[in-house]
């Protein structure tokens, strides 16, 4: 039984919500059950933002994630806030471009992704969150890159079609951080 409880957290504007919705859409396309729950309110407007994503091959009972099996920390306050809550044996993905410290727990797996450097090299800062997503997919191995890319093809059409390849490369560069 697969039951993934994920928290994606960071500053507003870092693409936190869209990492979550992309995961949820991908999982749904793969026939899994999903829920996506955002923090809402003033947090949406420039402060910290997070979303809870639950992905399972069984019925999803509660959409609220209190003890994540996986945490994607896009900034330091998010790591500080949620690191203690991660389940033992869980995964923490750290956006090492702006998080200045390492994961302190030794009972979780930590992966560091220089998302801003990757985005900078690719010439588009907006794909930093896709690098984080790529690392997540590679580290957890239940969502497939093919499904994500299929979805990107549906989102980016016409004049935006060239963005599919850019995003695909960003995903792979993120995945490389897991493989290294």
């Amino acid at each position: 039984m697969a039951y993934h409880e994920i928290i994606v957290a960071g500053f507003g504007g870092q693409g936190v919500m869209s990492i979550g919705t992309t995961m949820a859409e991908t999982a749904m396309a793969q026939g899994l059950n999903v829920s996506w729950l955002p923090s809402y309110g003033p947090e949406m407007r420039g402060g910290t933002a997070n979303c809870n994503v639950v992905i399972a091959d069984t019925e999803i009972i509660s959409p609220i994630v209190l003890e994540p099996s996986e945490l994607i920390a896009m900034n330091q306050p998010s790591l500080d806030k949620f690191e203690p809550a991660v389940k033992p044996g869980g995964l923490i993905l750290v956006n090492e471009s702006i998080v200045e410290r390492k994961v302190q727990r030794d009972d979780v797996r930590a992966i560091y992704v220089p998302s801003l450097e990757i985005a900078s090299e690719l010439g588009n800062m907006r794909v930093a969150n896709m690098a984080m997503l790529g690392a997540y997919i590679e580290a957890t191995k239940y969502l497939t890159f093919e499904t994500v890319v299929d979805m990107l093809r549906n989102i980016f059409t016409g004049k935006k079609a060239h963005l599919v390849e850019l995003n695909e490369v960003a995903l792979q560069r993120g995945a490389d951080c897991v493989r290294r």
Partner: protein, 355 residues
């Protein structure tokens, strides 16, 4: 049919349009503003009316006028805004006008907080406006159920000529889940005629009058008794509920909306500790499924009934009515946007069991 990922607030708006609703009046308030936002774009596309009103009071009175003119109509708001609508809701009940009111509840009292809560239960089920009246109140717990119930909400409103409330908490409004559109869309052209509506006499019939004033006490009493007879029919025919693992359970959790999901998670925790727990979930909180709850509670296996709410305890009154003293009833809840955790809920059950 393929599943689609929908946000609760947008799903409820789309479900209304698919239910043949072509008229929406409302005022923005968090956490339900995605409903008017969605309506402002999609209602005109469907050939319908969207209007952002100057207040919640105006919105509900626009609903009154439109409903009296025969339209399938809705409004939506969140707790403080729904307080403002109470006047119009009372008048709609008095004038026997159908319509759907969505309340995406947040914490109160007063301005409270924008985070999810369930503090409007009394207001929804006991009537926040003046006079003897009732609303049919649906309390869905997931987005599929939200969209499934929306068409029924409009149908029951028309059938009984009374407002129906969709009582959600902010969590259900804000979250996304995959859904299927199970029922085919309803065309407004196929809806049953409303011969009572004020659409102009064409000088071919006596004037229709939409009214809640019965100045003569005898007439007003007759009107009230007639409404009461209607509400009795609703009680007989429209109770909805769901049970999960209640057969032979030691602990029965009773919860509606999001807390019902937390209660199921808590039941899972108790099961690991060797305690069989089930969840009784009212889907209509008015009419309340008292007898069904009683049947569950009266089982020999049941030791305690634990009510779970995102409030300081409102529905628990109905649980006590339903259980009617056959088993002890206890309560666990948090308010103001704080959500009880499954562990807290499980511990409340353990405490009630004396462990």
């Amino acid at each position: 049919m393929a599943k689609e990922l929908w946000k609760g607030n947008e799903a409820i708006a789309e479900a209304a349009i698919r239910a043949g609703c072509r008229c929406y009046f409302g005022y923005p308030i968090t956490p339900q503003s995605e409903i008017p936002e969605y309506m402002s774009l999609h209602m005109p596309k469907a050939g319908g009316v969207f209007l952002q009103s100057e207040s919640e009071i105006a919105a509900i009175n626009m609903v009154y006028g439109a409903s009296g003119a025969g339209a399938r109509v809705m409004t939506s708001s969140s707790s403080p805004g729904v307080s403002l609508k109470q006047e119009g809701i009372s008048y709609m009940c008095g004038a026997e006008l159908p319509g759907v009111i969505v309340n995406v509840m947040r914490g109160g009292p007063g301005l409270g907080t924008i985070q999810p809560a369930q503090g409007d239960y009394f207001q929804a089920t006991r009537g926040g406006g003046n006079g003897d009246y009732r609303l049919i109140v649906f309390a869905p717990a997931n987005i599929q159920e939200v969209v499934d119930l929306m068409q029924e909400a409009f149908e029951l409103a028309d059938q009984y000529r009374m407002p129906v409330m969709m009582l959600l908490d902010g969590m259900i409004g804000q979250m996304m889940e995959p859904i299927e559109w199970k029922k085919p869309p309803v065309s407004p052209d196929d809806l049953p005629a409303k011969p009572w509506a004020t659409t102009g006499t064409k000088e071919g019939r006596a004037p229709n009058i939409i009214n809640s004033l019965f100045i003569d006490p005898e007439a007003c009493n007759v009107h009230n008794q007639r409404l009461e007879e209607k509400y009795r029919r609703v009680i007989e025919n429209e109770q909805r509920y769901e049970t999960n693992d209640t057969d032979g359970a030691e602990v029965i959790f009773v919860a509606y909306g999001t807390p019902a999901r937390l209660a199921r998670a808590a039941a899972g925790l108790l099961e690991k500790e060797g305690i069989k727990a089930g969840v009784f979930r009212p889907v209509t909180v008015w009419p309340y499924p008292y007898e069904a709850l009683h049947e569950v509670a009266i089982q020999d296996s049941v030791k305690v009934v634990v009510t779970v709410e995102m409030s300081t305890g409102q529905m628990v009154d109905d649980v006590r009515i339903g259980v009617n003293g056959v088993k002890p009833v206890s309560f666990i809840g948090q308010a103001g946007g704080v959500i009880p955790t499954p562990r807290e809920v499980a511990n409340a059950a353990l405490k009630a069991l004396g462990r």
